[in-house]
């Protein structure tokens, strides 16, 4: 039997249905929504924390959701090695819960960025093998005002050493430079993983890069395939 994936829903989540649609149409995977007040998780083999503006993003992006009832259950799920995939607001929630290191703060340019960008997995990271040889970078949309990844110097060095920098913003040719960095993230960081790679957080939206009919790329499918492999 194929895996069932749990998708968290907070008041203000707005990418939950897109994630469910990606899972069902492209991978024939069933998903189950999990409301933020649930104390226990249903029998799922992976958790998606979708994008949006949980609790209106009051206090800070993801800060209130991090203290929600269902996130306690997600902590326990993650502690047992369950794979967790946080996208955009989901990434912010994962850093606020400290399940992932660092913080996501206001874009350095001061404005909300909603556009296609390029990213690539770092070669020594857990996603390093996902880039097809013919490609230099993946094209994916971002839509965030608070996506600037920051961490102290010591933490950044640890991320580098442990291969926890999952994705970096690049230019169209895959060069990690200032031009490709949409929000001022340190080291162009667009996504990180936990030490064991089982928790993945990223600011770009892979669920919005799954159909050419939408006018963009299908590069997001690489990330979903990886997550589903972990979920078994």
């Amino acid at each position: 039997m194929k895996a069932t994936i749990g998708i968290l829903q907070f008041p203000g989540s707005n990418c939950d249905a897109d994630c469910a649609d990606t899972l069902s149409r492209h991978f024939q995977i069933k998903s189950q929504y999990i409301w933020h007040t649930e104390k226990t998780l249903p029998n799922v083999s992976g958790i998606v924390i979708p994008g949006g503006f949980s609790y209106g993003d009051y206090l800070r992006s993801g800060a209130l959701a991090a203290h929600s009832v269902c996130m306690q259950a997600v902590r326990e799920f993650a502690a047992r090695g369950g794979p967790v995939f946080g996208i955009c607001n989901g990434f912010q929630i994962l850093t606020e819960t400290k399940l992932l290191p660092g913080a996501l703060i206001g874009n350095s340019g001061g404005s909300f960025r909603c556009e296609y960008i390029h990213v690539k997995p770092t070669t020594n990271g857990y996603l390093g093998q996902l880039m097809p040889p013919h490609q230099k970078a993946w094209s994916m949309p971002i839509a965030h005002g608070e996506g600037r990844y920051v961490i102290d110097e010591e933490g950044l060095e640890e991320l580098r050493q442990q291969g926890q920098i999952a994705l970096q913003y690049t230019d169209a040719n895959g060069a990690v430079d200032a031009v490709g960095n949409p929000n001022g993230s340190m080291d162009n960081i667009a996504g990180v993983t936990s030490r064991d790679g089982r928790i993945v957080g990223m600011m770009p939206h892979p669920e919005r890069a799954t159909d050419t009919i939408m006018g963009g790329s299908c590069d997001g499918l690489n990330l979903w395939r990886h997550f589903l492999t972990m979920a078994g």
């Binding site: 206090l59 800070r60 800060a63 203290h67 850093t95 606020e96 660092g102 913080a103 703060i105 206001g106 874009n107 350095s108 340019g109 001061g110 920051v150 961490i151 102290d152 001022g184």
Partner: protein
């Protein structure tokens, strides 16, 4: 009893709102302005009977109001 908590970005972290305000003020001719920092102010009203209120407000600031990765906070009794 009331306590004020002020949360702001650490000095080494770029404050884009502060920078935008500073640059606008300078552009408008207020050249004396060297820097502007934007912070957030929380006023917490506690029951008078609260045991060790300062410690409680400190824990609220640390666990909720500020993100210690990027922000610092100060506390003052009002």
């Amino acid at each position: 009893m009331k306590y004020e908590v002020i949360v702001q970005l650490k000095g080494e972290v770029l404050d884009p709102a502060g920078r935008a305000i500073k640059e606008t003020l300078q552009r408008l001719g207020t050249t004396a302005v060297q820097d502007v920092q934007v912070s957030r102010r929380f006023v917490v009203d506690l029951e008078d009977s609260t045991n060790d209120p300062k410690a409680l407000v400190e824990s609220l600031a640390r666990d909720y109001f500020a993100n210690s990765v990027a922000e610092t906070f100060t506390i003052k009794a009002l």
